[in-house]
């Protein structure tokens, strides 16, 4: 029932928005972000519409990344889809295999729009690029995880610097606890942070075939890497009451329990930088961010982008594509990047955009100081075979298998090694099923 409901809603939306009298070319854009970040997207649309009169972009919020993709699929099947959609990182492989898109590289070339593709940070561009290196979708809202820490609590416990290693991080938790901090770490089981990005920073693989880039027959291997030790350390911290689970389901999520001054540490996307800033504005709490720690004996490598990119879907008119190309070109200007990074915590995606912001002194003072840490993390090294990104089909399901098994281990129903073994085994079944669905095809 839900399926037909979503379908009909999508159709209805198109009918109502398409009925407006047209004197310029209108085209639709469905985005997934909601709340304050959704408002920021609408602001970019308004800016675009004010800047020129030839095209009019109609931005429709879909309330969530997953919804944006689901609704677009339903609409696409009914031939009522928008030109542009915002699709999240983990859905990249699914969209690539569908083939139902206009590669952004091709689109810009066809319409004679010059974009300096080399200007994009490789840690970002690689995530959305074909095997030949050309971009399929336009990198947009991009982030990477960082450690948020409470400077006041660190100072009270006599900790002078944020931890560079995980060993130090876990030792700090004990120090904080001894100094009377009730909740040293607000933890939540996030595969994005503790599996994906953590493995990237250590140059350890998540799956064979370069995390799936070199073929659909990739197999998961994260039950054999440093990831296992990391998760076991987390269990120990939770059992020792050095960390507490903070999720929406438990009433207050990790970000909010950090921002409210309850917990001393939390790992989260740099995109939350603005939200945390807004929340602590009244309490005057001192805090900062730092790159993910790494284990001793490892060389740090770059982390990768998280967030979403813009895809132009197929079966639209040339005029609509022209409008979409103009909007993407507009987003790629350094000024737009600065606007976007100012109103949200997302990072600029091009070197020019980043340099402009550095020159303008954006990162020098509060409330924006600290966001450059994300750039440092993303560009720490040139991407290696293991740090280009992740290109695994059904990855949303693999993430949820990971979460379920890890939760069972955290509840003490199984050891962490058992949990990760099962997650890998079940994840591989999903990968084989994906491979089977696209039998005889290869990643573009």
């Amino acid at each position: 029932m839900t399926r037909s409901f979503i379908g009909s809603t999508a159709v209805l939306l198109c009918l109502t928005t398409g009925a407006v009298a047209q004197d310029n070319t209108q085209f639709e854009y469905w985005y997934g972000l909601s709340g304050q970040l959704g408002d920021a997207i609408v602001a970019t649309c308004d800016r675009f519409n004010e800047l020129q009169t030839e095209y009019e972009i109609i931005c429709v919020g879909q309330d969530g990344y997953a919804n944006a993709v689901q609704n677009s699929i339903a609409a696409f099947r009914a031939d009522q889809h928008p030109v542009l959609i915002q699709a999240y990182d983990a859905g990249t492989a699914d969209l690539m295999m569908s083939g139902e898109f206009y590669p952004v590289h091709q689109m810009m070339e066809d319409f004679g729009i010059e974009i300096d593709w080399d200007d994009y940070f490789p840690g970002i561009a690689n995530y959305y690029a074909a095997s030949t290196g050309e971009l399929f979708s336009m990198p947009f809202n991009s982030s990477t995880p960082v450690l948020y820490y409470n400077e006041d609590m660190y100072a009270a416990a006599g900790i002078e610097e944020p931890p560079a290693t995980w060993e130090q991080f876990f030792a700090n938790l004990q120090t904080l606890k001894d100094a009377g901090v009730e909740c040293p770490w607000a933890f939540y089981p996030s595969s994005w942070i503790h599996l994906e990005q953590m493995s990237m920073a250590h140059n350890e693989p998540i799956a064979t075939n370069g995390n799936g880039y070199d073929g659909l027959d990739a197999e998961l291997v994260f039950n054999t890497t440093i990831h296992v030790r990391h998760m076991e350390d987390i269990v120990e911290a939770l059992n020792g009451e050095l960390a507490y689970i903070r999720t929406n389901q438990s009433g207050i999520n990790a970000r909010d329990s950090f921002a409210s001054g309850e917990c001393a540490n939390y790992f989260g996307s740099i995109a939350s930088h603005q939200t945390v800033t807004n929340v602590v504005a009244d309490s005057g709490l001192n805090w900062d961010v730092e790159m993910l720690p790494i284990y001793e004996g490892f060389e740090r490598t770059n982390t990768v982008v998280g967030g979403a990119s813009l895809w132009a879907l197929s079966n639209k008119t040339e005029e609509e594509y022209r409008g979409a190309a103009a909007y993407m070109q507009f987003l790629a200007t350094p000024e737009s990047e600065e606007f976007w990074s100012t109103v949200t915590g997302y990072i600029p995606v091009t070197r020019t955009g980043f340099n402009l912001m550095v020159e303008n002194g954006f990162y020098d003072e509060a409330p924006y100081a600290g966001r450059e840490v994300a750039m440092e993390s993303l560009t720490y090294t040139e991407p290696t075979e293991n740090t280009r990104g992740i290109r695994l089909g059904g990855f949303i399901q693999i993430r949820s298998e990971w979460v379920s098994e890890v939760e069972a281990a955290l509840a003490g129903n199984q050891t962490m090694q058992e949990a990760l073994d099962t997650a890998v085994e079940r994840g591989n079944t999903i990968l084989r099923r994906f491979e089977r669905t696209y039998r005889g095809q290869e990643l573009p």
């Binding site: 029932m1 689901q70 569908s98 689970i245 207050i252 399901q397 069972a408 099923r433 669905t437």
Partner: protein, 293 residues
């Protein structure tokens, strides 16, 4: 028995047509589509599919975790039905006795049915919040007494209470109507012969309520299999560790989030067959014990 019928069959068909059309568009059509997908491997963006016969069903039925999901669904269905109907019956008996303020209760108890499931979920998420809700006081006295984010049993209890709370109103209306349809003279006769309240409930009212009871049993069981999505989604997202991963929620997870349309379609078919079988079973074996007046 007198029956009303139309002499003109075309006229009858005309009256039924809009309803049939709606059922066709919103039920038969999607159900047929799901049936087709269940036997194919469907690419989410519609790029094509391949006939795979029973492979999807093999894939699902050989998965231990799928059976786990069936198990928790059955627990949820039985527990919410028992809890909701028990509460509803109790409340209806009180309202029927015309205790002080019964007119207010009669209306007030119907309201919860008008609340959307996600809203119920959100409200109960707050009530059962281990850190900030009512249960946090209990947790202060006995630390770790209530941990729905880690403990699957706690999470299940939480979801069952929320689900039952939402169902109480519906059953209440029917029970109350059923009770009020029982001739007063029967109860008064019983009272005059000196039988106390509970005796009258047990010997007169409950047997006469049997048809209502049966109807509600079928509806409640079916509902708790198919209509639990909103509550699970807002309260637990199927966790922790799949402890509340009911069949409907798993279908949503695999189909809409995971884009495994074929797997989800096959699960829908299994769920549909299960509900049909259950209803059939109820009509065949339980209805025999029901006496309609």
């Amino acid at each position: 028995m007198r029956r009303a019928y139309f002499k003109n069959n075309w006229m009858a068909a005309l009256f039924v047509a809009p309803q049939l059309l709606i059922i066709f568009v919103f039920f038969y059509w999607p159900a047929t589509q799901a049936l087709y997908w269940a036997f194919t491997l469907e690419q989410p963006w519609g790029g094509g599919n391949e006939w795979v016969g029973l492979e999807n069903f093999q894939y699902i039925l050989s998965d231990d975790l799928y059976w786990d999901s069936v198990r928790v669904s059955v627990i949820y269905a039985v527990a919410t039905t028992a809890l909701a109907m028990g509460m509803a019956l109790l409340l209806a008996l009180f309202a029927d006795r015309q205790l002080t303020g019964y007119k207010f209760y009669r209306v007030g108890l119907i309201w919860p049915y008008a609340i959307a499931a996600p809203a119920v979920g959100l409200a109960f998420r707050f009530i059962f919040n281990p850190a900030a809700g009512i249960m946090s006081y209990v947790n202060q006295v006995w630390p770790g007494f209530w941990e729905p984010t880690l403990n699957g049993t706690h999470a299940m209890i939480m979801v069952i209470i929320a689900g039952a709370w939402k169902q109480v109103a519906y059953s209440f209306i029917f029970f109350l109507a059923g009770l009020q349809a029982i001739p007063r003279s029967l109860i008064e006769a019983g009272a005059m012969d000196g039988s106390p309240f509970l005796r009258r409930v047990w010997d007169i009212q409950l047997p006469l309520l049997a048809p209502t009871f049966f109807f509600l049993l079928v509806i409640n069981i079916t509902d708790s299999f198919t209509d639990s999505f909103g509550i699970v989604d807002t309260m637990t997202s199927g966790g922790p560790a799949r402890a509340t991963n009911l069949m409907v929620y798993k279908i949503y997870e695999d189909g809409f989030r995971g884009l495994d349309y074929s797997g989800a379609a096959a699960q829908s078919i299994i769920l549909m067959l299960m509900v049909i079988a259950l209803t059939f079973f109820q009509f065949k074996y339980i209805e025999r014990r029901v006496h309609y007046t």
